[in-house]
């Protein structure tokens, strides 16, 4: 197993600069998700890693080996393509055996390996079928088997679930996680779907337009401690709350949160910049807020504000409320419908109370 690193990579297509001084390192054996909106350059990174595109400047390393100029067919990196790119004139067996045939592996060994990997991906009943006889999910698994049979150092997955329906996606996600922990291959999973990325990855990078990496970390870190407004908004839903600096003490600063009447105390080392800007931005996740009909005191919940229900969407297991706070703030609240007589009978126009813990309010870089 080898780790993979991109160092100061630049790539542009004509006048459009897709990546500038891009750095990324993915440690060996991890399930790494590269998450970003379409057009942010994540597909370009995949194509650079696979060897389908050449960098304009910079280097790519696989372990200690520099692979920047190595052609695609000599890299120990394999790809699961978005639309699978299975060979339509070959059957399942021959598709999976393709890379072994190139290496002129002995016939018996080919058969043994192919049948084994097809068993792993639950395709042992489809071995000699043609590609167009398979369902979308089965084709996806052929693509997976074909890519991992050679035991590459890195497996690239380009939006592998995009063509599957919702129910199937969840099953394939679980299978992918299991397969990765079995093979111990480094998986680099490219997607624009934050739920998929949170579900599969043990490390993930959030990319913004222009190939800028906003944050790298474990999914729970990314979700609970987003660093920037972009990350907070892109990964999950959030409420953005603005704050104005009120007081500066030696080790602390006090910030007044607009519209929700709360003064938040920040440690000085939480604030990255030295020249404290007077304005701050915070994130508060909708599910961290608890609703009550009466102004109760909830233990640990030190923030409270009144709101009026603007609209609600009932999801069965939960309800999503949009609340008006004062005149200028709309907050989203996600309420679990734990009991049948919870708050879900709150109607549009009702007055309710929102409670939160100030530790759930996360300071963002703007």
């Amino acid at each position: 197993m080898r780790d993979i690193r991109l160092v100061n990579v630049c790539k542009s297509f004509g006048p459009e600069k897709v990546l500038t001084n891009y750095n990324l390192s993915v440690s060996a054996g991890s399930f790494f998700a590269l998450l970003g909106p379409s057009g942010c350059g994540k597909t370009t990174i995949l194509r650079l890693l696979a060897g389908f595109e050449q960098v304009d400047a910079g280097n790519i390393f696989l372990g200690e080996q520099e692979i920047t100029d190595l052609p695609a067919n000599e890299r120990s990196i394999n790809t699961v393509f978005q639309n699978y790119a299975l060979f339509p004139h070959l059957n399942v067996f021959e598709n999976v055996a393709y890379s072994l045939r190139i290496k002129k592996v002995a016939k018996e060994l080919v058969e043994q390996k192919v049948l084994k990997i097809l068993q792993t991906v639950h395709l042992d009943k489809q071995v000699y079928k043609t590609i167009d006889q398979l369902s979308g999910g089965q084709q996806q698994r052929v693509a997976l088997a074909r890519a991992v049979i050679n035991e590459p150092d890195v497996l690239l997955l380009d939006e592998p679930l995009a063509a599957l329906d919702l129910k199937l996606r969840e099953r394939v996600l679980v299978e992918l996680i299991e397969l990765q922990s079995k093979l111990k291959t480094t998986f680099i999973y490219i997607t624009h779907d934050q739920d998929e990325a949170l579900a599969v990855a043990d490390q993930m990078a959030i990319m913004n337009h222009g190939g800028k990496i906003e944050q790298i970390g474990a999914p729970s870190d990314i979700y609970d401690k987003p660093k920037t407004v972009f990350v907070a908004k892109f990964v999950g839903n959030t409420n953005i709350i603005k704050g104005v600096l009120q007081q500066v003490a030696e080790t602390e600063l006090q910030v007044n949160l607009e519209h929700i009447d709360q003064v938040l105390t920040l440690k000085r080392d939480q604030v990255v910049r030295d020249d404290f800007e007077r304005k701050f931005v915070f994130s508060l996740r909708p599910e961290k807020i608890i609703l009550t009909k009466n102004p109760e005191q909830l233990i640990g919940y030190d923030g409270m504000v009144t709101g009026q229900v603007v609209s609600l969407i009932y999801h069965g297991k939960s309800t999503l409320y949009r609340m008006r706070i004062g005149d200028n703030l709309i907050m989203t609240v996600f309420d679990q419908n734990r009991s049948q007589n919870g708050l879900n009978e709150a109607e549009v126009g009702d007055q309710v109370y929102l409670h939160w813990r100030s530790i759930d309010i996360v300071l963002l870089e703007d």
Partner: protein, 288 residues
């Protein structure tokens, strides 16, 4: 709903019937007529059944004509596919969208000119004091004009020029449906460019060659214009011999029998070609 279906089948009926009638009237009927004619000796009032015509048109002379036409057709189709494949590959994969449409336009350009005129143009190029000879004389490469016309080489050359687009277009259309992702997938799995070509690109685009091959085989087999104008008339081809029977010697029955025999040979040739291409794509599929 039912009414709608009825109306649909009604309009469907009227949309296909004219076509079918047309085919019956102008294709099937003459065909039946020709087949009938080939079996009957027609005198003033009598029509006697006879196999004599077939005995004549299967003699050595006639079979030689068929063989000559067939081998020229095969040769032309083979050369066309060898030239057309790289050209189509280039247009489909190596140039921008804009140049693709320009390339296709240029390919279709010869169809704007009457085929007869195209062949005549070749006469001006190849004749004794034509373009090629005057050029070669001028630069002093030859002292006597060459005999470039009225031989097999000129017939084949002009056939290749005239029918090449019929090979390029079907290959191109097959290639434009072929996803480049498959080439990338092949590289990704460790294949070289050559391996990828033989195992992925060629098997998936060979159906275009098959279509073009059969198209050219059929069209050149009965070709009349080119052998007449450039063949010198010494060597007979299927097309020229048929015209001989129908317009010069006016022995319709014998001509019909010859048409039937050569059509059957052509059908056989197409079956063989189909089989060969099936084997090639099959062989590349399941090699090793």
């Amino acid at each position: 709903m039912k009414k709608f279906k009825q109306r649909l089948s009604c309009s469907f009926f009227f949309s296909i019937v004219p076509g079918i009638l047309w085919q019956l009237l102008f294709l099937c009927l003459p065909l039946v007529f020709i087949i009938g004619l080939s079996f009957f000796e027609i005198s003033d009032k009598l029509a006697l059944f006879t196999m004599d015509y077939y005995r004549v048109v299967t003699n050595k002379f006639h079979l030689l004509v068929i063989l000559r036409s067939l081998s020229v057709s095969f040769f032309v189709a083979t050369v066309c596919s060898l030239i057309a494949y790289p050209v189509a590959y280039f247009i489909a994969f190596k140039v921008s969208k804009r140049w693709q449409s320009i390339g296709l336009f240029l390919l279709a350009l010869p169809f704007w000119i009457n085929f007869l005129l195209q062949v005549y143009a070749w006469c001006f190029i190849l004749e004794r004091n034509g373009l090629v000879n005057s050029f070669l004389l001028k630069i002093g490469l030859i002292s006597e004009p060459l005999y470039l016309m009225n031989n097999m080489v000129s017939v084949i050359l002009v056939m290749i020029q005239g029918y090449l687009p019929f090979m390029i277009l079907p290959i191109y259309s097959g290639m434009s449906r072929f996803s480049k992702r498959l080439i990338e997938a092949s590289y990704d799995l460790g294949a070289s460019a050559i391996y990828t070509f033989w195992h992925i690109t060629l098997p998936l685009t060979i159906s275009g060659i098959r279509t073009g091959f059969i198209l050219i085989l059929v069209m050149t087999f009965g070709e009349f214009t080119i052998p007449t104008l450039l063949g010198g008339g010494k060597k007979l081809f299927v097309g020229t011999l048929i015209s001989e029977y129908f317009f010069t010697s006016r022995s319709m029955s014998q001509g019909s029998a010859f048409v039937c025999v050569s059509a059957m040979v052509l059908c056989g040739a197409i079956l063989v070609v189909n089989k060969i291409f099936g084997l090639i794509s099959g062989a590349t599929d399941h090699e090793n």
